[in-house]
Symmetry: C3
Subunit: 207 residues, 3 copies
Amino acid sequence: MLDEIRLLYLLDLFGVSVFAISGALAAGRKSLDLLGVVIIAVVTAIGGGTTRDLLLDRHPIFWIADPTYLSVIIVSALATIWYTRHKAPPEKALLLADALGLAVFTITGAQITQEVISNGVIIVIMAAITGTVGGLIRDVLSNDIPMIMRRDIYATAALAGATVYLLLQFTGLSSVTNIIIGMGVVIGLRLAAIQWELHLPRFRLEE
Amino acid sequence: MLDEIRLLYLLDLFGVSVFAISGALAAGRKSLDLLGVVIIAVVTAIGGGTTRDLLLDRHPIFWIADPTYLSVIIVSALATIWYTRHKAPPEKALLLADALGLAVFTITGAQITQEVISNGVIIVIMAAITGTVGGLIRDVLSNDIPMIMRRDIYATAALAGATVYLLLQFTGLSSVTNIIIGMGVVIGLRLAAIQWELHLPRFRLEE
Amino acid sequence: MLDEIRLLYLLDLFGVSVFAISGALAAGRKSLDLLGVVIIAVVTAIGGGTTRDLLLDRHPIFWIADPTYLSVIIVSALATIWYTRHKAPPEKALLLADALGLAVFTITGAQITQEVISNGVIIVIMAAITGTVGGLIRDVLSNDIPMIMRRDIYATAALAGATVYLLLQFTGLSSVTNIIIGMGVVIGLRLAAIQWELHLPRFRLEE
């Protein structure tokens, strides 16, 4: 049990780091100043978990309870700025890291919600909120149409992964196995969607 | 009393359904994918009540306490997508339904706030928040200037209906009568504004 | 002690008034109707403190606990509309007032957070949130890229002022002195930035 908690905590720190990097890169494309970059990085990294905690009335909010998150985010954003002054960001590695971040946040979101809620639909929705809302706020602040609504199989991957993770709990598998398979579903769907340009059908209204 | 509560609950379910449809149609105009449509529909339908519950520290949030709301929203959004594949959306019926949804949310918002707050100004504001914030978030996510700030006599109708509903409580009328009159004020103002293109004066600054 | 509290309360009312005016002027540039102007003014003035109270689980939210805030905001917004029908807004006075509003909200935000949290980094962040989030929501609703991420030395001034205010508490100075110096740092940095067009370095990614 301790190992599972430690594993999730380390993964969670990895997740905020990855999302901070993606936020810093998005801010760089908008040519913000240094503090603006850090702000966008922070919001991207903590937006999902903060929304989840507010909706669940779970206080103190995770990053207030454990400021390690903020340190990791700020260091990640500054390192991104420093790195990209000299080299182009490694786009492929970032897509992989982003998929891993989405997977981590989705499964930790499901876990945390399960501590207080038993309804499966709510757990899956909170998992998807944890995984996707940070990126959504990043896009709103950057004045873009949120990627979550354009980028194909993104929220879908979170919903599918969280659903599989919940269903696995009715099997006899260990919780670490469930975590790994649930995250695998999220990552697999995201990477498959990127590789083969999978997407859900669009809904287009004639005006 | 039971009848009043059951009436308000059924009206509330009707309200989330109508707002889910309006969200799905807005998403269709932006050509989002199926899940994006459902997300916008959900946010439009629950945004107002969720904001109210967070501001009032009223937990669990209404749709976490009763997932029936989510089912109604998702079915409404999918039915909208299916219907509009074959036929144009019935614009007039929708404007009427939207006015009814606004009226329902405004009065239920006032009622719920009254359970915990006695200040009349706060109750009227929470009623208007319940009625209008879902549409506001829909517009922000769709990257439009929020309709609430352009569409004439929208928040105004909510504020007026909630004020009338509160004032009626000082008369000897039954609470069902108060609900009907309060909703009538909202619907009447909205439809009159649409019919005769009423609007508040604009405030325009020369630059 | 009473004097310190009364001073902060009066400054806080001054702060919401100034931010309501800045919100009303921003709304005027978008040519919204009268209620839209008031809504933007309210959101600009209470957005920061409301976000702080939600994140800290501090209920009732400050403007629910004390509706005086709403009265001051609405009167300020209406007075702005009335004044600007006849005269151009006094831009210089407004920049000064905005700097003072930012300073007030930053220091009161730090104080309020200190009542419940001891971690210095969290206090500084909450202070900056209190000072800047109202303007950020104003810009998102007006469909602009938030000024906080463009306008130079804005959030920076809040972070610096809050940090100085916290550090001063380790000296033997009176708390009124600490408040004045902390606010002075915010105002001084903002005015210096405006006067000499200071700004943090930008981070620009080549695409």
